[in-house]
Amino acid sequence: MSVEQALVGAPDGEGPKAATRHVSRSVTLTIGCVLVGVIVLVAVVSLFWLPFAPEDTSGGRLMPPGAPHLLGTDKLGRDLLTQLMIGARIALAAGAGSVVLGGAIGIVAGLAAGFATRWLDDVVSALLDILIAFPTLLLAMLVAATQAASLTSAIVAIGLAMSAIVARLTRVLVKRVLAHDFITAARTSGTSWPRVVLEHVVPNIWPTVSVNLALQFGLAVLAEASLSYLGLGAPPPNASWGRMLQEAQASVFIAPVGVIAPGVLIVVLVIGVNLVADGFRDVADPTRRRRR
């Protein structure tokens, strides 16, 4: 072994084994996965089993925690735990839906802008700045005005607002990757543009974009809760955590659990998603793996 190689050392281990080792090594990622996993589990269970029927108001109003209503009931007498479980479903659907919509539109638009010639790039950038300056809530109200407020309208509004942010990020990343010699090197060896995009540009922007999408997931959950709080989200009887907060706030001193429980769940999901995003950064990018 030459001195050069001895100093550089052996490259990382190969394949999926190395990847799982990194996942378990990353503490933030583990904690994040547990937090998100709990919410996902609750949402999945809610599809098959609920403690009470969502519409069942037989338990009496604002009951304190205890048997048979583990977390008590709300002001209409509905079981709080049942409502929270349904809420998990809605929160995840809102996050995932917005990320898929916003990510798809944003990445495609960002790639196009990144490759565009000067004036087209200027036009797209200006459009993005306007879209980003536009408050998500206002956008949501506009979407809700054209169609009835629903989970879908909330997802469309949040996804559109998100797409502008993702597009702007993607555009900058694409420009930066394109300035590298390895792009020119690929082209000097005759690689066509579509291939350059698939083989070099997308993999190089993906670690940053995917981490950003994970963070956007958390923001989307918060945005959906806010929209529902304002009555612009999923209509009753779908229990969104945001609307549960709003409905319970009048009776916060009599039945504090009704406010605390959805609040805690929102925080758990958002923090969990952020931790996952943070831990994922190291797994997604091989150049960062060794520096731990």
Partner: protein, 274 residues
């Protein structure tokens, strides 16, 4: 018959500045041509113009023709992307200055070397894997299999530059363009890489267009040189003629400083011996 003929080449930036003007030279098949100039004199742009890969917004004028036996004569300036793509790699290939950014940081070395091999020689599967190992061995990389599995940040600068050379050679180009391939490396590694390039160019009887700012380095590996200043040729000719009788003041300056360095090294050597 010249392999590469550059005639009256001009490159203008998007905002209308002339970055290169009226540049002419020829490179014959199997010969080595050197392009010397200070930083910003337009050496890299000349290389990119020859590949038809100028940055967006820049325009080229004049003529760059490539005449590869069996492929006919092609005008590069103003040629379409499809024609250029077919030409690139197989006729001309480039080794860049910065070995770190010349390789994709997220792709294993083996995969990157395989790409041009697959495209140019149509290799697949086992044959491709063998060809990758052979390509890495050809640039004198010990443990080619370990290197093939590594990411660029896991190998040294000198090793990276060897990989870049392997990739450039993969398509067996008739003309290899080396754009300051050793500037970012330290002196001992520099000498190794130069010797490697020298040997490979001879072995495959390729033509070499070697770009550098150091007259001593460039004149050591080429037989004709052109000195570039602010995008204009100030002197050109056989290496010996230019070194022995530089005409332009800038060329004299270059030769002078190279000689001074030589003399200083000689004195040092004598001092050590006595």
């Amino acid at each position: 018959m010249s392999l590469l003929e550059v005639a009256g080449l001009g490159v203008r930036s998007a905002d209308g500045r002339d970055l290169i003007s009226d540049l002419s030279f020829t490179v014959d098949a199997g010969t080595r041509f050197g392009l010397i100039g200070e930083s910003g004199s337009g050496k890299s742009l000349t290389a990119l113009a020859i590949m038809g890969l100028l940055p967006p917004g820049m325009t080229a004028s004049g003529s760059v023709t490539l005449d590869v036996p069996g492929r006919g004569r092609t005008e590069i300036v103003g040629a379409g992307e499809r024609l250029l793509n077919r030409l690139r790699g197989r006729t001309t290939s480039v080794v860049f200055q910065e070995p770190l950014t010349a390789l994709d940081p997220l792709m294993r070395i083996g995969h990157q070397v395989a790409e041009p091999l697959r495209r140019a020689q149509g290799l697949r599967g086992r044959a491709l894997k063998t060809a990758v190992t052979a390509a890495l061995e050809e640039v004198r990389l010990a443990e080619p299999d370990r290197i093939a599995r590594a990411y660029p940040h896991e190998i040294s600068g000198g090793q990276r530059q060897r990989v870049a050379i392997a990739m450039a050679l993969a398509c067996r180009p008739a003309l290899l363009i080396a754009d300051e391939p050793t500037t970012a490396l330290d002196v001992t590694v520099q000498a190794e890489i130069l010797a490697l390039l020298d040997g490979l160019v001879s072995a495959h009887s390729m033509a070499l267009l070697f770009i550098g700012h150091d007259l001593a380095v460039v004149s050591g590996i080429t037989d004709h040189v052109l000195i570039l200043k602010d995008g204009k040729a100030v002197e050109s000719g056989a290496v010996l003629d230019v070194v022995n009788a530089p005409r332009h003041p800038y060329a004299r300056e270059l030769v002078g400083s190279a000689r001074e360095l030589d003399a200083a090294l000689d004195r040092l050597g004598e001092g050590e011996r006595s």
